[in-house]
């Protein structure tokens, strides 16, 4: 049992929810470092080194970071409180990179609320989606980190691999970002997933090349250390905590059947997160190779007409959970726990006492997507 985070008006734990505000995380508390000699250095929202619009205020007295504030610039209103089929389309587009995780978590919550039990094949299909998404996202994170180190050859090789994974996804599911793949009652799937073996081989070579480069790993080691036993995703796993929704989330049983094993590392720094991601890619590829998938249509047999449910899955950056209150065909209430909301906190507490040039490595190593943070549901 572990605490995961604030889910609307509830505090989400791995096995239950409690009404009210979550207790503060001790490890992420920051002292107030504002100094007399210091000033605020503004970075972003429009900068070459950042993928998304985010303003970052770095309190510093020169190169040394004494405090960090992250200001999301992508505040959006999303109209999900409507008919289920429509709202799924909106949820898909909250964060394109984590589209599958979001949608599956959302649909799982609805299914729980309405008492629908999807067939086994659908569950397998969802796992395939999420693992492919994980592979792609981990590769993107790794590419960003490698690029920040000016490590050009592996950077381009990773970009090539990302494109390859994207094409695999597009071929099998009809869309690179799984748009329109998942629905209440359907899972769209066109053809068998191929060429994963090839990706595996190429990936292994690139990955070994990267972590054999000592200058590169020197940049990551002891950078942004965070040891939070109630943390989520790669952040916790890099500090040797086996926190993973694949072990205790909605699809844990099937993961267990597939022989999933949690990857951990023992340093809790950016290097640890890099290694965890790197080896999770291999693990995901291994899981995928043991699955044979078909397209499925199923009839959604509702056991009840209204209800509430929570869907929690492991997104590439950690636990992702939706709380949904549904009545007939209409969504009444939606809460979201986005992994990035935790990761931003973890990032800003781990960044203190590091220096400016460590910033890109640490920032990218958390795999933060701002788009899922600034969402307001209507």
């Amino acid at each position: 049992m572990r605490m995961i985070g604030q889910l609307g008006e509830f505090c989400l734990y791995s096995d239950r929810i409690e009404k009210g505000i979550c207790p503060e995380r001790e490890t992420l508390k920051k002292e107030n470092y504002r100094s007399i000699q210091g000033f605020t250095f503004a970075y972003g929202p429009s900068a070459g080194g950042l993928l998304e619009s985010v303003g970052i205020d770095l309190d510093t007295f020169g190169e040394y970071i004494s405090d960090v504030k992250v200001i999301p610039y992508k505040i959006r209103k999303v109209r999900v409180k409507s008919i289920i089929d429509n709202s799924i389309l909106y949820v898909e587009r909250i964060n394109g990179s984590f589209s599958a995780s979001h949608t599956i978590s959302f649909i799982t919550a609805i299914e729980e609320g309405l008492g629908i039990e999807p067939p086994y094949e659908v569950k397998i299909g969802r796992i395939v989606e999420m693992e492919l998404e994980r592979i792609r996202n981990h590769l993107i994170v790794m590419q960003r980190v490698v690029e920040a180190a000016g490590f050009s050859v592996p950077s381009f090789q990773l970009l090539y691999l990302i494109e390859k994974v994207n094409r695999v996804i597009a071929k099998s599911f009809g869309h690179r970002y799984f748009y329109g793949v998942n629905g209440l009652g359907s899972l769209r799937f066109y053809e068998e997933i191929k060429s994963l073996e090839e990706i595996k081989k190429e990936y292994k070579e690139i990955y070994r090349g990267i972590i054999d480069n000592r200058i590169f790993i020197d940049r990551l080691q002891s950078n942004g250390v965070i040891v939070d036993k109630e943390g989520i995703g790669p952040v916790a796993r890099s500090a040797s905590f086996k926190n993973d929704a694949r072990n205790d989330g909605n699809y844990a049983e099937i993961y267990k059947e597939l022989g999933f094993s949690t990857v951990t590392y023992d340093e809790g720094d950016a290097f640890g997160r890099f290694i965890v991601r790197g080896e999770e890619v291999e693990e995901s590829l291994r899981i995928l190779s043991s699955i044979n998938l078909h397209s499925v249509e199923y009839e959604s047999k509702k056991r009840n007409n209204e209800g509430e449910g929570i869907g929690r899955v492991e997104s590439p950056s950690g636990d992702l959970a939706y709380y949904v209150k549904v009545n007939e065909n209409i969504i009444k209430e939606v809460y979201l726990f986005a992994p990035s909301s935790y990761n931003i906190l973890a990032f800003s507490s781990s960044m203190v006492k590091n220096i400016f040039t460590d910033f890109p490595f640490n920032w990218e190593s958390f795999g933060i997507w701002l788009s899922e943070v600034g969402v307001i549901f209507e």
Partner: protein
């Protein structure tokens, strides 16, 4: 030709600097292997100039035991974890101290004093320098693998010194003795020892 010999000597010293400036264990061990191999090559060079067959034997022993077996044993003991390093602060400032002080000090001592005793063996400079660097490595590091490498480096210095001074059959015996001793030390110490895990502020930046 003597310039080439000098360059090989200086390569040995450069590798010692590299070892001093390296925090990661695996390249450290590999560098030691290369260093020993270069010393073996120096031994072969001496065979070319003197024609004494013992130099060949010494060279082969050096390559086999110090260039291959010892590093392999060390690498095996260290295991396969990626990115394992010694958590030392200011690797490079140690390197600078090593370079600026030990090398120059040895140079000065050598020119002032040792040349008076052995006026013709100017290459001794390098073995002395290597010896001091081995000592400095032991003194400046805390982890067992680095200290063992310092010890091995000192042995290399002794062999290097011996190549031009000690009668060669004796040197072979000495070097084999040292090798065996070294292997015993490695296997007994490292395997029993736990590697240290200390977070250190200085690594930032």
């Amino acid at each position: 030709m003597s310039e080439i010999l000098d360059l090989m000597y200086i390569l040995v010293i450069v590798l010692a600097f590299y070892v001093q400036g390296q925090a990661y264990y695996r390249p450290l061990v590999k560098a030691f292997g290369v260093q020993s191999t270069i010393i073996a090559v120096i031994s072969f060079y001496f065979f070319l100039t003197t024609g004494i067959i013992d130099y060949i034997i010494l060279g082969i022993i050096l390559i086999a035991i110090r260039g291959v077996v010892t590093p392999l044993v060390l690498l095996k003991v260290l295991g396969g974890k990626y990115g394992e390093r010694e958590k030392i602060s200011g690797v490079a400032s140690l390197l600078i101290v090593d370079m600026a002080f030990f090398f120059v000090a040895v140079l000065v001592i050598f020119i002032v004093a040792i040349t008076k005793i052995f006026p013709n063996d100017l290459d001794l400079l390098f073995s002395f320098s290597l010896f001091f660097q081995g000592l400095f490595l032991i003194a400046s590091r805390r982890s067992t693998p680095s200290q063992i490498l310092g010890y091995l480096e000192e042995e290399n210095a002794i062999v290097l010194l011996g190549i031009s001074l000690i009668p060669i059959p004796l040197l072979i015996e000495v070097s084999i003795f040292l090798d065996v001793l070294g292997l015993v030390v490695i296997s007994s110490v490292i395997i029993l020892e736990k590697k240290e895990h200390l977070p250190i502020d200085e690594l930032k930046g």
